[in-house]
Subunit: 194 residues, 2 copies
DNA sequence: CGTCTATTTGAATGTACTCAAAAGCGGTGG
DNA sequence: CCACCGCTTTTGAGTACATTCAAATAGACG
């Protein structure tokens, strides 16, 4: 199991001893998802935090009209979970699906809590990445309220330059909050005007 | 200084010893804001987490067209900060203003970090409320993408029943993501159809 | 190569916005 | 305590941005 990437990810915020690294990695399970395979579906209880080693996950909800809305992507080096369900241990509404063949590491909720008790540095690490995530969602919410669809698209390109070419456009559309049809028209117009 | 409310707030998630309580409260400053007085303005660096004892704070941004967008309210028992600025210690974009006469307690960033070192329970506490806050913003983002303005308004009423009668309608409007004019029309129509 | 999914294009529609002005309400000062 | 002033709310008319539904085209995976 390749744990270099996840240990490097954690070392951005806390320094672990060799023992702590060994203990942490002993808690991880690795898993491979095929293209279009689900890690979690609407109605299930989320029992794991996932970390992407390669490939890309997509977390989305389906509204009452059957429309999908992408909450988040998790490319290499990102974490993913249905936070609502993970915290409350109640059935969630998120679907987590692999966009392409994706390798992940899983940390169970139970182990995550054990980790908090036994190595408080992990509580710090998850506090910090949760804070960063909160700031990102706050910014995204304000952007959705104040920017045009075109500005939100350009924002997305700046923030995730590598993802633009990988992701289906329909997923970018429902991430930035427009329909795939509208994004298609918009990109056509942007090309013509440049 | 009345610290009962904040200690009670913290005790929802962690149990503090009398010494820990005393140490924590020794770090707090109290402050009173008059109606329309600012705690923080666009461009400033956020140096405190605020906890509302009475009254209500409003955190909002102003977009390039001069329109306000409410990010959050902090009525009694809620925390407020410009998380982006507080974490990065860079100038933020949030304005925090008292809607009415408001009493708050302030915890400086420096003291908050000291607290994490000296009483790890506080790191747990802030991890947990940050997680809860993250879930709420994720839900709000999905609601903005999938619900109608009317559904978002009814959601708001359900979630903050006490605030409905206190808050100016224009602030509710820019919280749920519509203009004050549109909310006014919408409420008129809802009354007529009931 | 065939099938399934994603993307594009068209036409009609709707939701919410903009700008302008009037009416209502509440806080503040006299 | 009342009256005024400023801010909030309402109302009107015109508009724009984005959606819906339908169908054709293109593209990718097995």
């Amino acid at each position: 199991m390749s744990t270099d990437l996840i240990l490097q990810n954690i070392s951005r915020y806390v320094n672990l001893s060799p023992d702590e690294k060994a203990y942490f990695t002993s808690l991880l399970q690795s898993r491979s998802l095929k293209r279009k395979e689900f890690l979690l579906e609407d109605g299930q209880i989320c029992k794991y935090s996932a970390f992407t080693l390669s490939g890309c996950l997509r977390g989305y909800t389906v509204d009452e009209n059957g429309l999908e809305h992408v909450l988040s992507f998790a490319p290499q080096g990102w974490w993913m979970a249905d936070m609502y369900s993970l915290i409350s241990q109640k059935p969630g509404t998120l679907n987590i699906e692999a966009i392409e063949k994706t390798d992940i590491l899983l940390l169970s909720k139970a182990d995550q809590e054990k980790l908090y008790e036994q190595v408080p540095k992990f509580e710090r690490f998850f506090r910090i990445i949760t804070e960063n995530s909160l700031v990102a969602y706050q910014q995204r919410l304000m952007d959705n309220l104040s920017l045009t669809a075109e500005e939100r698209y350009l924002n997305f390109c700046k923030r995730y330059p590598t993802l633009i070419h990988t992701l289906p456009k329909k997923d970018i559309a429902t991430y930035i909050g427009v329909t795939p049809e509208f994004l298609s028209r918009m990109l056509g117009k942007m090309l013509r005007n440049s």
